[in-house]
């Protein structure tokens, strides 16, 4: 095919495919939002607004403020320390700092409650030692914010670290050579350049916070999501609950738009195109100790301490799950997560690339709506997925019955494909953010150069972008993988018959107040998530090494552990 024809056909086909995928992923969100058009729901609104809703809004705002600031400070700070400095333990911290991501927030909540509550070991021990004043209650708004920061800061860390690595060689070194000290260089050059990445990470953390119900319900913290579920579960008004969910999504869209607006027309490409890692500044004495402590603390709070608590519980309740069953659960979780991660990255690449190629607002807007599934409380979006899937299924069944007389029943609903679709609807935002953040750092000039050398868009993608994007794609796959491992509401309601995962097992035991028995499976979610987490994280860390080594590595290098 002549290059010219491909160039004309390529973008149109790309746009069409992207629009189809975007619409498919946005459909459940739109199903939820359609409730706004329903006439009923008013009475429930009035009741909630006159009683509890103002409190819910206030506590949600505080929670978001705390989580947004906490994840930004911890994530950016640790990323800055490990990319730009040299101190004892830096190499280990660089990959270990993502580990808290493997913890579901609700599991962290169980673990810290067990450890710190009035009837728990720490307070019991303090009382025995003569300390009479009770500790501040972990099951509170502040406690919930701490849980979210502890497990969600890695979003910011991962994306910010990538951004710092990209810019380490060029801009930052130039700034330093022009006489800026390390702190001013960080605040005035590196941080502003990393802004899209930091904002994307903090945005993901906030969306996950807004969608959470398990943690806040267990802590008795009442957020907007509590209101959504109260309308549905207790008042039996699912229309009002969908309307409340729509209001929440509206607020999310507004925040995202404000952040975009705040960036204005700024671009964040590194125009030098050099990808040589910078030379980290060596820290000594108390500075080195301080850096190690600053990286060690989030790791201890978000990983080591809760893992130790769970391990103690799991050992005390050993034998809850027979090994055969355990392996089956882990296998189910793992394969669902792997398939979804692959698909999510492929589709995100399609969407992000189409939006970039067409530069149209429409494509960008569609991507934002497609990403909203992530900010929607899990059960709400699960039902939003059920509606279009079962309709399609009923239509298919009707068509098959009409054509052949056979009675196939529902083919899609309750199948793995429908479940993976539900995951994509929930988690596409995660991979999309990561891929977009990576894509934003590739200059349009590189495209122009490739195109002027005769490469079509497909070839440009394959030979120029893909190698440069690899780190972003790996990060995206990793984030989705871990999220699917932890996902609960959609898995519970969309899964096939007799199909359990680690997360559904934890839920079944924990909702029966058997936290001790649930600890083993919860620990397994963390362990299974850790494997790819550490591999990918080390892979990204390895790419710091100068030249050739990583660039020329075969595609499967990602799974080689040196």
């Amino acid at each position: 095919m002549p290059a010219g024809a491909e160039r004309r056909r390529g973008p149109a086909a790309l746009r069409g495919a992207a629009t189809a995928v975007g619409a498919l992923v946005a459909a459940p969100v739109l199903t939820v939002c359609a409730a706004v058009l329903a006439p009923e729901g008013g009475e429930t609104w009035r009741h909630l607004a006159s009683t509890v809703l103002p409190d819910y809004v206030a506590s949600t705002a505080w929670l978001c403020l705390a989580v947004g600031m906490g994840t930004t400070v911890v994530g950016t700070g640790t990323a800055w320390l490990v990319t730009m400095h040299e101190f004892p333990g830096r190499r280990a911290f660089e990959w270990a700092l993502v580990m808290p991501l493997a913890f579901p927030a609700y599991v962290l909540a169980y673990a810290y409650t067990d450890l710190l509550q009035f009837s728990g070991p720490v307070q019991g021990w303090l009382r025995a030692a003569g300390w009479e004043r009770p500790l501040p209650d972990v099951r509170s708004l502040g406690g919930a914010a701490a849980m979210f920061v502890a497990v969600l800061y890695p979003y910011v860390y991962l994306l910010a670290r990538s951004a710092f690595l990209e810019h380490a060689s060029g801009t930052t070194e130039v700034a330093r050579s022009l006489g800026l000290g390390p702190w001013p260089a960080f605040l005035r050059v590196s941080l502003p350049l990393a802004r899209p990445a930091v904002a994307a990470g903090a945005g993901l953390a906030l969306m996950e916070t807004l969608a959470d119900y398990g943690t806040v319900a267990y802590f008795g913290v009442q957020t907007f999501t509590t209101g959504i579920y109260r309308a549905w579960f207790s008042l039996g008004d699912r229309v009002a609950s969908a309307q409340l969910a729509t209001a929440l999504l509206g607020a999310v869209l507004l925040l995202l738009a404000l952040e975009r607006l705040g960036r204005g027309r700024a671009r964040f490409h590194d125009a030098t195109g050099r990808r040589r890692p910078g030379s980290p500044g060596r820290l000594r004495g108390w500075r080195a100790a301080g850096a190690a402590a600053a990286c060690g603390l989030p790791l201890a709070v978000g990983f080591a301490v809760p893992a130790a608590v769970l391990l103690r519980l799991a050992l005390a309740h050993a034998g809850t799950l027979p090994p055969g069953r355990f392996l089956r659960l882990a296998g189910n979780s793992f394969s669902l997560a792997a398939v979804t991660a692959l698909l999510a990255v492929a589709l995100s690449l399609l969407l992000a690339y189409a939006a970039r190629a067409s530069r149209s607002r429409w494509a960008a807007a569609l991507n934002r709506v497609a990403g909203l599934g992530y900010a929607t409380p899990g059960s709400v979006i699960a039902v939003g997925v059920l509606v279009p899937v079962t309709r399609l299924d009923a239509w298919l069944a009707g068509a098959i019955e009409g054509a052949t007389g056979a009675r196939p029943g529902l083919v899609l609903t309750g199948g793995i494909a429908a479940l993976v679709y539900a995951y994509l609807v929930r988690f596409l935002a995660v991979s999309l953010h990561a891929v977009e953040a990576a894509l934003a750092r590739i200059t349009p000039r590189m495209d122009d150069a490739a195109r002027s050398l005769g490469a079509g868009p497909g070839e440009t993608l394959r030979r120029v972008h893909a190698p440069l994007l690899r780190r972003g794609l790996l990060t995206a796959a990793l984030l989705v993988f871990v999220d699917v491992m932890k996902e609960l509401p959609a898995t519970l309601v969309m899964r096939p018959f007799d199909f359990d995962t680690l997360a559904t097992t934890v839920f079944a035991l924990a909702s029966d107040e058997r936290l001790g028995e649930a600890a083993g499976a919860a620990l397994a979610i963390v362990a299974a998530g850790l494997v790819p987490l550490v591999i990918v994280s080390r892979q990204i860390a390895r790419e710091r090494r100068p030249a050739g080594a990583a660039q020329g590595a075969p595609a499967l290098g990602a799974v080689e552990v040196p």
Partner: protein, 343 residues
């Protein structure tokens, strides 16, 4: 991996999984499709026993009650599910109101299950009592009835889980039926004024808080109490050594029971198997299993149980309120809790 290869790999894996996923209802084998919002490890043994007796395999999906209801609704006439089992009368009543259940016609169920625990389309198969747990040493006269929990004498002494939890909504529904809405709201206000701490955690957490001295009085479902009594962990038994269990309202209407039950779906592909399953749940054997395996009370009076904890808790007078009232009043109960500030 290049993007096209990435996509191809993903699609191939998806296709493999899609083909591998179990197709519901293979023809040769007798099967029952169960949607259950009960998630007790002991239920598995119960279902295995049904299969051993009848040759009917039980295929199940366990999930949350409201989400499963939405799935049943969305799946419509072609849905694969035969039976919906759940806890809490409100959800069962909702399934009935939505027309999801088929009429339940069974001489056996009518004979064995008391009338106030049955509805036209569903039946309760086990019950749990909402009991008061006291710290040993507190004057038992202070908390004989649910109404006492709202009296000023217990100011700052009460622990309770969220008012929006079905167990508390079920209690509120019963109180509305007995006392009326205004007095129930007044009761809820009094209870909120007496709280030692904001509602949080589950029932077991409340019992532990009483044992640790964080509060003096709590509400809990009986099977959590019985589970702690039967636990092989010394720390659990120590918790129970520090508390007393009170059967509320024994001088008047009796303790509130919330129920677990189920019905046959209108769209059930295997209605005969579904009926056999429900009749099995009302058998002496299954009823004893609810008691011995999960510390619930049987609904069939003749069932012989061997559960030392339930026996130690002793006989009690149970509220004979019709389950229909429980499911009818739930939304009202939630609203008055919201007004009273019971989070």
């Amino acid at each position: 991996m290049s993007p096209p290869r990435l996509l191809a790999a993903a699609l191939a894996t998806l296709a493999a999984l899609f083909l591998a996923s179990p197709a519901p209802g293979r023809a040769a084998e007798q099967v029952l499709h169960l949607y259950s919002a009960r998630h007790y490890p002991s239920d598995e043994a119960l279902f295995a026993r049904f299969t051993a007796l009848t040759g009917i395999r039980v295929s199940r999906i366990e999930g949350k009650e409201d989400e499963l209801l939405e799935r049943i609704k969305s799946e419509g006439a072609r849905g694969p599910a035969d039976v919906f089992l759940t806890v809490d009368a409100a959800r069962l009543g909702q399934a009935e109101a939505l027309g999801l259940f088929a009429p339940l016609r069974s001489r056996l169920l009518e004979e064995r299950i008391p009338a106030h625990l049955r509805q036209p389309t569903w039946a309760a198969f086990s019950t749990r009592a909402r009991v008061i747990v006291l710290r040993k040493g507190l004057d038992p006269a202070l908390a004989r009835d649910y109404e006492d929990l709202a009296r000023p004498a217990l100011k700052g002494k009460v622990c309770v889980r969220s008012g929006s939890h079905p167990y508390n909504l079920s209690l509120g529904s019963a109180l509305i039926a007995h006392l009326g809405e205004a007095r129930t709201e007044e009761w809820a206000r009094g209870l909120v004024a007496n709280l030692a701490r904001a509602p949080k955690g589950g029932d077991t957490d409340q019992i532990r808080a009483v044992a640790a001295g964080e509060c003096q009085v709590a509400l809990a479902n009986s099977y959590y109490v019985a589970r702690l009594m039967r636990s092989d962990k010394a720390e659990d038994r120590e918790v129970m050594a520090r508390v007393t269990v009170v059967w509320p309202n024994q001088g008047n209407r009796g303790v509130h029971l919330n129920v677990s039950g189920g019905g046959i779906l209108r769209s059930a592909p295997h209605p005969e198997a579904a009926l056999r399953f429900l009749e099995f749940l009302a058998s002496d054997e299954a009823q004893a299993h609810f008691a011995d395996g999960n510390n619930e009370w049987p609904v069939v009076r003749t069932a012989v149980t061997h559960n030392p904890a339930l026996e130690a808790l002793g006989p009690f007078r149970a509220d004979g309120l019709d389950v229909a009232a429980l499911s009818r009043n739930t939304a009202q109960a939630q609203k008055l809790y919201d007004r009273a500030g019971w989070r």
